[in-house]
Amino acid sequence: MIEKIIGEDKIYLTLDQAQINRKYRVVSVSAGRGLTERIYEMGLLPNTDIIIISRSGGHVIVLVKGVSVALSRGIAKKIFVEELRTTEAVRSP
């Protein structure tokens, strides 16, 4: 399910729908008090670019500010992102 925000051309989705190995930009975080701050402090704040490095049914791992952060689906659903068009972002070891 992809959410389209009316009045804008950009397509926003929540982080749990993001695809592996692609680059996104955080648009907004809509969680309760306390949790939003924690998400921000982990570096996931608006206008930050992130790369999805791993995902499964239960969690997403993103690379943000050089650190990989694991988020459960519940939290990933609260973070809105937009996709950035870039070349392959993840390098093989």
């Binding site: 592996i20 008090r33 306390g34 949790l35 939003t36 701050e37 924690r38 998400i39 921000y40 402090e41 982990m42 570096g43 704040l45 608006p46 930050t48 670019d49 790369i51 490095i53 791993s54 499964s56 049914g57 239960g58 969690h59 791992i61 690379l63 500010k65 050089g66 650190v67 990989s68 952060v69 694991a70 988020l71 459960s72 689906r73 519940g74 939290i75 972002a89 993840v90 390098r91 093989s92 070891p93």
Partner: protein
């Protein structure tokens, strides 16, 4: 007035930690997680580490000394932090220490691999506590010139001293030591950073609050007014408490109304705004810094473990299988089991025997046996109680401690490799979803895996828990998992209950495993609700350490420190308790009883324990036998069998169990009780070592006995009705 740091001897007044030791300088070690803080602390303090718990919590704070140029520096290792707001108990402890306790300097640790993240945490600390020195680890990842340039750059921009080190290569440590001593001895130039982050629209409110705060006596080099104002606006709970104790009620109301106005004006959560401004500041700081290149490359190297976990449907299970094999290998090395059983079932008895003899514990028991014979043969004329004390008592006690040493070393070695390489966290993340329903994080998988072999190192692995509340839940829950020793008892009972019916035997053993593991998982929710009362966030938001080849030094250090701690702390308790139990078994109201167990205190106690099992309708004549076996099983789970064989006088354990004259239903329910009823003596000693609390240790016993009774009665009555 500013307090001048002098190098006169002083008592550390961190009384909350029970510290009253002398030191010339006190340095608090703070910083982000995964930056190598423990490694640095270990290098700085060597073997002098002591651990205390923050009052009313199980959050541990380590401290250790370093002697340098005739001075003693005391290092306090505070819990690592991920941020300030929405803080965990650990983070709050770190902050409380810095707000209220004594220190001369703070060393805030970051690293060159994640400069942005490290600066966020370090600036957070330095903004509120100006006496902060930055230490950037992993300098081996960049060039010396880059590091030097960055040090100068940061000093010019923020007035922050920054020292580059490599904890792995132990470079830069001497320089850190020198800097601490220099700053500590120079009375004229007091080191005091001034972090001027631009908070944009909030600036006027910050100024207003600073004006009010400047009427109070606050050592501004210890706690900066600006830092207090900013964190008050961000509604930091600990700072708010600090100000509440300091300010008059009128002034508290005044700053509260300033915060209210700021909120109305900005129309957003102030903490979110402040965090955003901080990251903007760091971004502009790094963009023009010598570290620009690292900052702008955001490549991620995928490790093999990421690739395995990514496999759809079962990637995590494959990873789990690999871990299971790793720990099985450790247990085979230790006792030969379960490989020995497999070989003997295949008819290869000889291989099985060789394997058992040359396993670590086989060699160890051969050694103990040799020394026992030596003592017995050289003391032929000595009185029997003395020989028994030396061999059965003291040597038995030493043996009880020693058998665990190689096991704990190997398990912690295996775990340290997983932990340091970053593999442990990644597998745990994959398992988080299932376990979080019961109040555990995915990290509980390690205690579970290890407990299948032995509960003692499993309790120690609770250190990997994400919070101290979870850690307690793990400690109370993991001993329900049947260990190898309990499997031996299970096998004997299964053969006695279902003679010559292998299918039923296997099913019964599997049933016990399912019961044990299920209880130990559900127990997370139970203990959290009944005893721990910690609000738990089952949601995962966790920073992962990078995947790399484990460093031999770090791995060696972790496994050695686990082993050392076990020998020193739990070892002494196990040893003393073993001698006490020897006394109970060999002495009775009539003095030394030798092999006549019916006259010993142990038997007497056994007959008092027996009524506990009366709901199972066990013949009162036989009950003391089982009571005594319970006592033996408390010393070591395999003692349950030897207890029964000694009491019944029948050598073969299976026949001994049969001779108790119990019905099938009674035996099954008794077996379930025996599997769950109490942690063994060694596990209990480690529970005490980890919680450092008699209350929690006794609670563990009480809790396990209650659950064991409950389950075995439920099984008894259900089966009786069938």
């Amino acid at each position: 007035m500013v307090e001048i740091v002098s190098l006169s001897r002083k008592y550390v007044r961190a009384e909350v930690l029970g510290i009253r030791e002398e030191a010339d300088l006190i340095v608090a070690l703070a910083g982000a997680m995964n930056t190598g803080k423990s490694s640095l602390f270990n290098i700085l303090t060597g073997a002098s580490t002591k651990v205390s718990n923050w009052p009313g919590t199980t959050v541990s704070v380590k401290r250790g000394y370093r002697r340098s140029h005739g001075k003693t520096i005391l290092f306090i290792d505070l819990p690592g932090i991920r941020g300030y707001y929405g803080a965990t108990l650990e983070e709050s402890v770190a902050k409380k220490y810095l707000l209220h306790e004594k220190y001369d300097f703070i060393v805030a640790l970051g690293d060159y691999v994640t400069p942005e993240k490290s600066l966020y945490i370090n600036l957070l600390i330095a903004e509120l506590f100006p006496r902060t020195i930055f230490v950037f680890n992993k300098v081996d990842k960049i060039s010396i010139k880059e590091a030097k340039d960055f040090e100068n750059y940061l000093y010019n921009r923020l007035g922050v001293k920054i020292i580059s080190i490599s904890a792995i290569r132990e470079t830069g440590v001497k320089e850190l030591e020198k800097t601490i001593l220099e700053l500590g001895s120079d009375k004229r130039s007091l080191y005091c950073t001034n972090i001027g982050i631009d908070y944009g629209d909030l600036e006027q409110y910050i100024e207003d609050i600073i004006k009010i705060l400047s009427n109070y006596h606050i050592d501004q080099c210890r706690t900066s007014l600006r830092g207090l104002a900013v964190n008050y606006l961000a509604e930091d709970f600990d700072v708010e408490n600090y100000l509440n104790n300091l300010l008059s009620e009128t002034d508290m109301n005044r700053i509260a109304s300033i915060r209210e106005r700021a909120r109305e004006n900005l129309k957003m959560n102030l903490a979110d705004y402040i965090i955003t401004k901080r990251y903007e500041f760091i971004e502009s700081l790094l963009k023009s810094s010598p570290l620009k290149k690292i900052f702008e490359t955001t490549y991620y190297r995928k490790g093999w473990i990421d690739r395995i976990i990514e496999i759809p449907l079962g990637g995590v299970l494959i990873a789990l299988g690999i871990l299971f094999l790793l720990f099985s290998a450790i247990f085979i090395l230790n006792t030969g089991f379960p490989l020995t059983t497999i070989f003997s079932m295949l008819g290869l008895e000889e291989i099985s025997t060789i394997l058992e003899t040359y396993s670590l514990s086989g060699l160890l028991s051969a050694l103990i046996g040799f020394v026992t014979d030596l003592i017995r043969s050289s003391l032929t004329n000595a009185p029997e109680p003395l020989v028994s004390l030396l061999t059965d008592g003291i040597l038995g006690g030493v043996g009880a401690v020693l058998t665990f040493v190689p096991l704990i070393f190997l398990v912690s070695l295996g775990f340290a490799v997983l932990e340091d390489s970053g593999v442990a966290t990644r597998v745990a993340v994959g398992l988080h979803r299932g376990l979080s329903r019961f109040g555990f994080s995915g990290r509980y998988v390690y205690p579970i895996l290890v407990a299948l072999g032995c509960n003692v190192p499993a309790v120690m692995l609770s250190r990997g828990a994400l919070s101290s509340g979870e850690r307690l839940a793990q400690i109370l829950s993991v001993p329900f998992i049947p260990c190898q020793a309990r499997l031996i008892v299970m096998l004997a009972f299964a053969q006695a209950i279902f003679p010559d019916r292998p299918l039923e035997q296997v099913l019964l053993v599997l049933l016990i495993y399912v019961i044990g593991i299920t209880i130990s998982i559900i127990s997370g929710a139970v203990t959290r609700r009944l005893f721990i009362h910690e609000r738990y966030e089952p949601e995962l938001l966790l920073e992962l350490p990078e995947v790399h080849r484990p460093y031999a030094k770090v791995v060696g250090w972790i496994s050695w420190s686990y082993t050392k701690e076990f020998i020193i702390k739990a070892g002494i308790i196990i040893f003393l308790l073993s001698i006490f139990v020897w006394f109970l078994s060999y002495y009775g109201p009539g003095g030394y009883v030798g092999n006549k167990f019916e006259e010993s205190y142990g038997y007497l106690i056994g007959s008092y324990i027996a009524p506990l099992l009366s709901p199972l309708n066990i013949d009162p004549q036989k009950a003391p036998y089982i009571g005594f076996a319970l006592l033996q099983g408390f010393v070591a789970k395999e003692g349950l069998l030897s207890g029964i064989t000694i009491m019944t006088g029948i050598e073969n354990p299976v026949e001994a169990v049969e001779s108790l004259g119990l019905t099938t239903v009674q035996m099954i329910s008794l077996l379930i009780f025996l599997m769950l009823y109490v942690p063994c003596l060694a596990t209990l000693s480690v529970i005490y070592q980890e919680t450092r609390s008699i209350k929690w240790t006794l609670l563990a016993i009480f809790y396990m006995i209650s659950i064991a009774l409950l389950i075995s009665l439920a099984v008894y009555y259900t089966l009786s009705l069938m």
